[in-house]
Symmetry: D2
Subunit: 377 residues, 4 copies
């Protein structure tokens, strides 16, 4: 018999977009309870936030070190099972590293770290700890992404040739884009990249997740369209893959009027697929010798991989939250299995996705600044 | 300071579609906890279901009467605050009636009862009880429906002329459509209508909610396309409204291949709107003298009525669950206000919607069976 | 070897929408030449129009009687082969009747006449004449309509159950809608119906064309939303078919903001189809046991019936004009065959479509005015 | 008073896709007549084709030199006014050059030549001749492209920042793609590029046409996915513009399942636009502070630039043919003006578009083969 898992959180104070999403996603399946946290750097606000979340005030800590110490001091049957790390990029690595070392499972927002070296270091900590680490590449939680992955794995598309990914947002089109924007374009908090770290990594990770291909070389043109903005707010990248396939990623946060327009199109020798994050329930399949097919979440023809992360019948739209919750559920399932002594299934993005995304980021930043056509990964 | 509300549930055992939706929706906002229930008529299965939902076995009751007695026997600070009624139609009225009489708030699935007379009786019980009653017409919880209602109320459409509603599902196209289907076409459990009770009432209620108009006469043609099926699985209705406006509802559960295709188009003298439940984030506005406008959930131009029931930024798709959760949130807010001695805002469908839907159902069933063109409501 | 066919035209002067469409459609295939005409009732304007169309001034006639006489006076190898009748409704029957009697093939705009009796009389004239008569129900010329007809004929949809047709325009939403509108709502020129004669007949004809079913009874609610407008500008009709199938047509010319929104959805026991005139290159097929299929004009999977009326490769959008031209081509092909002594194929709407549409109109107008639920056809 | 213009054609024999499109487009407006031609290199087939097109056998010539001689030998009032050149790429330059020299107006398929040098040479011939030269970049003939150009020129988008163009076809995904494909991937007939010459030039030209910006540097990755295919069948290009704007073109003819999927998205500091060739009647405008706007062909709000190349009312779909015909009409209008001694308006693509497209092609082919990041134009 399962018990409810106990979750802690670092980050996600009032006004933080992604922290709230994490909490709602964690709640959805009914087997995770938020019991401890550091909800931002302002202690008073953090306490208030904790109170609104019905967290015991004794377990709202002033900082993550205190949280680790405090939780370790509790009896095992009260202590958190895992922590969600939802801070700005800068703190992903040190916090994740500390919790893993202290023996807690960790679920962390992307990108994993500020450098590939740190990502690799985190990998070593994780291996030594024997604990689970999930990286929140939430788009892999969408049912129709599971379906797409399955169709590719089954060879439906044939040999993959071209992968085109567009990821356009408009929210940074003006110089002042609100509190959420500040840290994302500050090198000290966000790292070597703005737009590409924020959304380009989703593109890179989704390509890898779906295709199984590895990017071997990139040619990039990163831009910052707002005077004084230190990090890229736009970037286009030509891709070459280990198989001979090619591709394009163009991502932007200054695409005026775009919401969260993430589109992936994969062309193979036999067929092609198209998926739009803003209409996530459709997966379009085209070929040169048959009418267009549209797989729909929850509808016959869509396989069990997709069905496993789907809750409502077809036509009752699911969205971003359910995809996010699918990552939480997979992570929670692994912990439940571990608690029961069963073999866990690690069906969520992890350390290797994080290392890959940092290598990709470092390569495109270097390439964009230089004169060489290609930079190898 | 708010406390978590304690919810009970009647119905919603294993394999029940709508019970699970209610629970997930109730969880989403983090301030409702499921603590008691009768999860179906089979006591053993109900217990197992309760255990999986982390409900104290002592509060999994054999029937709703026992649940009322048991909860009343608990101290007030442990007792449920409200009950969710998610049984087949037949039991909506007696269970809701009993809980209201016992002093509990009630949230009930639609349709409210088996007859308009029972709906009216329930209204009297509710008034006497002083407790809240919410009827789960979940589509009114969608942000873009709130936006549509606001635009109409603001006169953007001018005088309303024509309202066309399509509601098509295919799930009953074959004779045997699984467990969910059995009670929906059984007059003893579903009442005088199948399809029209199940989905036609959503259409009628949404028209009323959005337009503020009242249907004054109907002309209907209900059908049952499967030999031996006792209740309608399809129906078309011509509508006349108190204002002189006209309309059409056509609803079907034998529309092969359709998922949950609920479309409403409202035409006024100045402009028109169109909304598709399967693409719920768009609200299309057309006029004869300007380009088409598309309001999007979370995007500038969309008003605060919509924003209040929206959580994620635009482009991060929300769907059915969030709309459902909006009804729970409004209901919970009323209870919180009541607990705090504040004036509650009753921003959810209730008794009058239930009376209206039953009168509509009775009128179309009578009209469809007779020779007269129009039946007045 | 084919020769160019010689076309005459009655109607279609300056500012007439449909006359210009007829001429452009007739030109498209390169084997029809406009050589004579009466381009409106104003003789001077008609002459000017003829000159702009490069028509020999000697063959621009003052009225249709003069045109018949004039053309008969020419040698057979100069005389027109057929006439296009594109006047207001009132004159369709007398002009068509006169040209048929005089031994000319006739292609006429819909509706065929002002009454079913006249339509039947025209049928007798046509039979006696041995000449061809085409009724311009242009929507049957769309490739994907041909494809839809083929799929239904092949049994892909199974037994048809429900047919829903929406036809919405907004152009008459205001009292004054320009010159094109005047005659369409004038009983003397348009007949017993406005909106339903103008577009409702397209709906009725397309249903019949696609399904092969016959409407056996109707229940209708026609409306006129503009004070002083004598004919209907809106109407909704419940349909019963000879097979037991049912349906709905709702058509309106006061649907503010709508362009020419003609949608047909046909549901069968095995599958369903959906087609939108404003996106005419797609034909959507849904079933309860497979992903959605989208047939596309010109793409593999789409059959030869569609291909025959398609010219451009898929993805090079064709539209209204090509569908219109397909009727002209079929009509021209019949004339070519006749000239060559071959057996003509009459693959275009004709007298029977006209009789059907008039009977439908008369039935819905009568029903809408009365108290009986159903009017039989 | 206008007279009908006399057109000749070189190329466009049986089975040629584009020649037939040219003829249908030329016919549409009713003021152009095909009277002479060389319909392919096979004289017998050319004669047969001419006969089917009702061309006088005496004016079906064995080659273009004979055609020039033959037409010059005719009296001026029988002689062709202009020639359409619709051969494979190789012959565009020599034929156009010869007809211009002989004193005929020329309308030629793109790309203009096999090299930028030849394009420039043609420009000199044209200037010396005083005759008109139109290059068939047909996409500029779409009404909503005219609308897009106008909105950009009016500053609605603000300062342009990013231009993303996708042009995907699947027709060359397999090694053998039929007769149309053979010459397009043969360097002798097509030149230095396959896919990029065929469709990449449309992308480059449309960007320039709409934005008025000039590409200053490119970084390209051209590919050939079919073993043995000598020219590119796929290519991706990063763009830098004179204004500081950036962009991406990715074009492919091996995008399995794609028809003619040409999409352009232009992002400015104030607003953005999106247009899809396969849904050409919509022009989507987005901004960060208002709901999405959709301009529709023929609908209020859409300006006169678009209206001038639009014939049917909104909702009566126009497509590829009408856009093509718009180029013919503009070209014919210039000739009519010239014949009447009026000042002609040259509202069609011409020599400079041809020079630009060849420089672009030469730059991307060179860049793709080298190690440098950027190649300047």
């Amino acid at each position: 018999m399962k018990r409810k898992l106990r979750m802690g959180m670092v980050g996600g104070g009032q006004g933080a977009f992604i922290g709230d999403v994490h909490r709602r996603a964690a709640r959805l399946n009914g087997d995770i309870e938020l019991v401890a946290g550091v909800f931002g750097t302002n202690v008073e606000k953090s306490r208030q936030c904790g109170a609104e979340l019905f967290v015991d005030p004794a377990r709202v800590y002033p900082n993550y070190e205190a949280m680790i110490a405090g939780e370790l001091a509790l009896p095992a049957d009260k202590r958190i099972d895992f922590v969600s790390v939802v801070t700005p990029n800068l703190m992903h690595y040190p916090i994740s590293n500390a919790f893993l070392k202290a023996g807690f499972h960790v679920l962390c927002e992307k990108p994993i770290a500020m450098s590939a070296a740190d990502a690799e270091a985190l990998g070593k900590t994780q291996q030594a700890s024997g604990k689970f680490f999930a990286l929140m590449h939430n788009y892999t939680g969408y049912p129709m992404i599971k379906q797409a992955k399955k169709l590719i794995a089954d060879g439906v598309l044939g040999e993959l040739r071209k992968i085109n990914v567009e990821y356009s947002l408009g929210w940074l089109a003006a110089p002042n884009a609100g509190k959420q924007a500040v840290w994302r374009v500050d090198p000290k908090q966000a790292g070597i990249s703005g737009c590409m770290a924020d959304i380009g990594t989703h593109a890179e990770q989704l390509i890898h997740y779906l295709s199984g291909l590895r990017i071997t070389a990139v040619s990039a043109d990163l831009a910052s369209f707002i005077p004084g903005r230190e990090l890229d707010d736009d970037g286009s990248v030509l891709l070459r893959f280990n198989s001979g396939a090619r591709g394009v990623i163009f991502a932007s946060e200054v695409s005026t009027g775009e919401e969260n327009n993430f589109i992936i199109k994969i062309y193979g020798s036999k067929a092609a697929l198209e998926w739009h994050q803003q209409s996530p329930e459709d997966l379009i399949i085209r070929s040169n010798d048959a009418p267009m097919l549209v797989y729909r979440r929850g509808w016959p023809g869509t396989g069990e991989e997709a069905q496993k992360v789907s809750h409502l019948p077809a036509g009752h739209p699911e969205g971003f939250l359910e995809a996010f919750a699918a990552i939480y559920r997979a992570f929670a399932d692994a912990i439940h299995a571990d608690l029961n002594g069963d073999q866990p299934v690690l069906d969520f993005p992890g350390i290797q996705d994080g290392i890959d995304e940092m290598r990709f980021l470092e390569a495109i930043v270097a390439n964009s600044a230089g004169d060489a056509k290609w930079t190898a990964l």
